[in-house]
Symmetry: C2
Subunit: 147 residues, 2 copies
DNA sequence: TCTTGACCTTCCCCTGATGGGAAGGTCAAG
DNA sequence: CTTGACCTTCCCATCAGGGGAAGGTCAAGA
């Protein structure tokens, strides 16, 4: 089958199929006489696997490893679990970071009256000096020797 | 002062100061006789404002608007609050998405024994067929007329 | 005065996943 | 043969940065 059919069956756009090929996530597709890429159902399954792995947030290097573990009949489940646990930890870190930002923001929003008046704690907070005065050095101290 | 001093005082790297200039977030800096960029404390404050806005996750277009609201003495706080509320909503959407992914992943992890055996529900789930069979069409139905 | 090295400039490439679009070749139906 | 749906490769853009090269400028010390 051609690439667009493989795209429909796998749920991965033709654009991304070519991209995964150039990124080495999938082996270079076979070609027919006119240079068109030709796919088998095995290829489609592999692409769908990639789509699902991406849907749970795995990045290219992780997916590469997952694919090779998937191919290998004798893989230990331990390896797969380790990858997943690491990835989950990263996700949780990102979530916590975003939550901290959201908390800050909603705090600011709660203090802003939000009417016609120009005074606004949100802007005030963005404009506030949050860095300590950096000791001395008046203008251009052309470092005597930094590192 | 030169760009590296402005970078230290504002907490924005010299690289990013140039980037913000080319992106139009800050007006083109004044130049001295040799073409070096020259900054005032006003410029530094503006850069620090950008840094803080980025720290709460605002993107370039939002920051552009926040800066112009900040400059304008007669702005209504309403405008600022609206931007912040919109941005918060986007943050919460992203957080919810990530949490859904994390939940899925931790569910899978919980079902994986993670030892030497090769059977692994994580890989099984990534390999599982999750798309309905797409009706018919056997091979290459070269569309008679799609859209 | 010359040397040195810290600083400045512009320009280009990289990230990661994805899409848009152009230029040009192929194929099948009418 | 024409048409248009499909395929190919290549380049560009996103976002918020960072890395680094090539080359000009400046100030301090010998």
């Amino acid at each position: 089958m051609n690439i667009s059919r493989a795209a429909v069956l796998s749920g991965v756009s033709a654009k991304m199929i070519r991209h995964y090929e150039s990124a080495g996530l999938v082996p270079a597709a076979a070609r027919n006489g006119s240079g068109y890429r030709v796919y088998s159902m095995d290829d489609v399954h592999r692409l769908a696997f990639i789509r699902r792995a991406r849907a749970v947030g795995f990045g290219t290097p992780d997916i590469r490893q997952l694919l090779s573990l998937w191919q290998n009949r004798r893989r230990p489940a331990r390896e797969v679990k380790r990858l997943a646990v690491e990835h989950l930890a990263q996700l949780q870190t990102r979530i916590a970071d975003l939550e901290a930002i959201a908390d800050t923001l909603s705090h600011l929003i709660g203090h802003c009256h939000g009417d016609e008046r120009p005074d606004c704690p949100i802007l005030d907070s963005l404009a506030a000096d949050d860095r300590q005065p950096a000791a001395s050095a008046s203008s251009k101290p052309r470092q005597a020797g930094k590192k």
